[in-house]
Amino acid sequence: MTVETLLASLHLAVPELILAVGALALLMIGVFNGDKSAPTVTGLAVALLIASGLWLLIASPEGEAFGGAYLADPFARFMKVLALIGSIVAMIMTVGNARSEHLDRFEYPVLLLLATLGILLMISANDMISLYMSLELQSLALYVIAAINRDSLRSTEAGLKYFVLGALSSGMLLYGMSLVYGFTGNTGFDEIAKVLAGETRSLGVVIGLVFVLTGLCFKISAVPFHMWTPDVYEGAPTPVTAFLAAAPKIGAMAILVRVVSDAFQPVIADWQQIIVFISLASMLLGSFAAIGQKNIKRLMAYSSIGHMGYALVGLAAGNQSGVSGVIIYMTVYMVMTLGTFACIIAMRRKEGETVEGIDDLAGLSQTNPFMAVALTALMFSLAGIPPLAGFFGKYFVFLAAIEAKLYALAIIGILSSVVGAYYYLRVVKVMWFDEPKGEFDRVSTELRLVFGLSGLFVLAYLFFGGPVGTAAEAAAKSFF
């Protein structure tokens, strides 16, 4: 690699470089000034994330870098901006609660920044090695963040559980990659696709594919690799859960889309049946297992499992409209999740104690009507009721599935979303028709801003839908 190609590569990767160099600088600031610099570091971290996002939007770099290990295309740009928004919002939401949730340490924003860097690199990965390395960068930071409240038994349990199961899934991913490398002789996605298109596929590649999909499905917490999700979501501090549910899911879903529709495009028949099964299982488990939940964070965990199932419906279709459906779904999912978690973070009694039960929302319409309206809109949208954002997300993925003649998948998906509507509507019922159990503390401005804006987004999606759809279509063209 000559100096010119290296410089060209670095130029393409400027958004990541901003985060990487910035994280190192912030680490220095934190180390020299101690934990009292945590607010400063958090502010600077948000500034770095915004700078990285602006560079992506304005310079919109495209092309391959580092000898094909890194790829910047419209799809990567869209997903990266989405992941950056998720990180920024998650970081802003911790500001008011850092002390009470024991997140007031300068390492927290630095680790969040490094996790975001991992997500960005993962979205751009165009090689098995860079995929694995960026996945590890992201996961390691997340394990630590989940356990960062080390004096709480639940938080450490969540971190440990996440770490052990994550290590297992990494092992499976690596094993699958080594099989794929062994049977195709390449690690680059384009080269793998070329080899697979040229010859009849061998059994070894299929086994490798299954293991790779297993590892990636663990990261998006799709059934049957979802067991960690409810415990980790419940145990981790709520602002951390908000981050876990948004940006990393975007990254993992993006790389899953890229792996199957880029590297394994020639063996579509092999991966399609796996994705169809995983999608079905996630949708069904997500809607049935959530019914009995009393803790709203666990409820959101099962809800996110179900939503990953719906997003995978689009991927299972394996066509351009399917991929653009996935992109729209992930956009809508992220906005809804962040908004809902802003409400959950705001569930704090006047005495300073945080509550997580669904019953604790009782009578919210009388005590805090603004939050009740926003949460109601978000719940209706999560349930997929027209004309809210969640409906359009589901509409596009199911449309793609029908185009691809996956009728059974679409029908079962629609039925399970009807079942899922029950538990979302139960939350609404508790808020509007039950007797108040006590008031929440005054909600801080940034949380109100987050759930207000996301509520507005889902309510007025009819107006935003056009531009989002166009952008998603342009992004999906990267593969077809």
């Binding site: 990487a20 000898g67 630095v110 860097l117 690199l121 390395m133 960068l137 960062i148 080390r150 002789g185």
Partner: protein
């Protein structure tokens, strides 16, 4: 050639003998020391085949870090090795099986290279001949140019691991009684001694 063969047999013999001593030594500290001797001899074998980079890595990583870590564990943890050792014969068949599988795999691997030499031709970055470039230089050629991205990414992963270890384990304890020499020296009989009257048969 004769000298090389001589050194090969010396290294190989000492390596095997000290490996045997690792599992048969009574004192666990001796086991670890024999393990270090085994590593040194394996490094010597690597050197003989011209793999000087592997030899140095073996010394730096295994002797410098892993073996010392073992030594710390053995010396600091109160492990009852006699009890651990008691079941050794029970596990012998399983250990033997693992050994046999390992041996078969080695034979298959080395044999495969002899049966079909063209299998190694598909390698993307073949090792240049030793006469042209040493191992270390050849690694450096690609590691800092073609694979710079992966190299830097690994650096970041290690950084995260380090931050994580510090975040989760480092504690500044506030209620620890530290030695304060000034107060110790400044003690006087009045602050240190209390005189109490003890009635016979009652105690304090």
């Amino acid at each position: 050639m004769g000298l090389q063969a001589l050194f090969f047999y010396i290294f190989a013999f000492v390596a095997v003998a000290s490996a045997l001593m690792v599992i048969s030594a009574k004192n666990p500290v001796h086991s670890v020391l024999f393990l270090i001797l085994t590593f040194f001899n394996a490094a010597g074998l690597f050197l003989l085949t011209g793999a000087e980079f592997l030899a140095m890595i073996l010394l730096v990583v295994y002797v410098g870090a892993v073996a010392v870590l073992f030594l710390f564990v053995v010396m600091m943890l109160d492990v009852d090795f006699a009890e651990l050792r008691s079941g050794v014969l029970k596990y012998a068949p399983v250990g033997f099986l693992v050994g046999v599988i390992l041996a078969v795999e080695l034979v298959v691997f080395v044999g495969g290279n002899i049966i079909s030499p063209e299998a190694g031709k598909a390698i993307t970055m073949p090792i240049p001949a030793l006469t042209e470039r040493t191992n270390t230089a050849a690694l450096g050629d690609v590691l800092y140019s073609n694979y710079i991205y992966f190299f830097q990414l690994s650096g970041l992963v290690l950084l995260v691991a380090m931050i994580g270890a510090i975040v989760l384990t480092l504690r500044h304890r506030t209620h620890v009684r530290r030695q304060d020499i000034a107060t110790q020296v400044a003690r006087s009989p009045e602050t240190a001694i209390e005189v109490v009257k003890v009635k016979p048969g009652q105690g304090i």
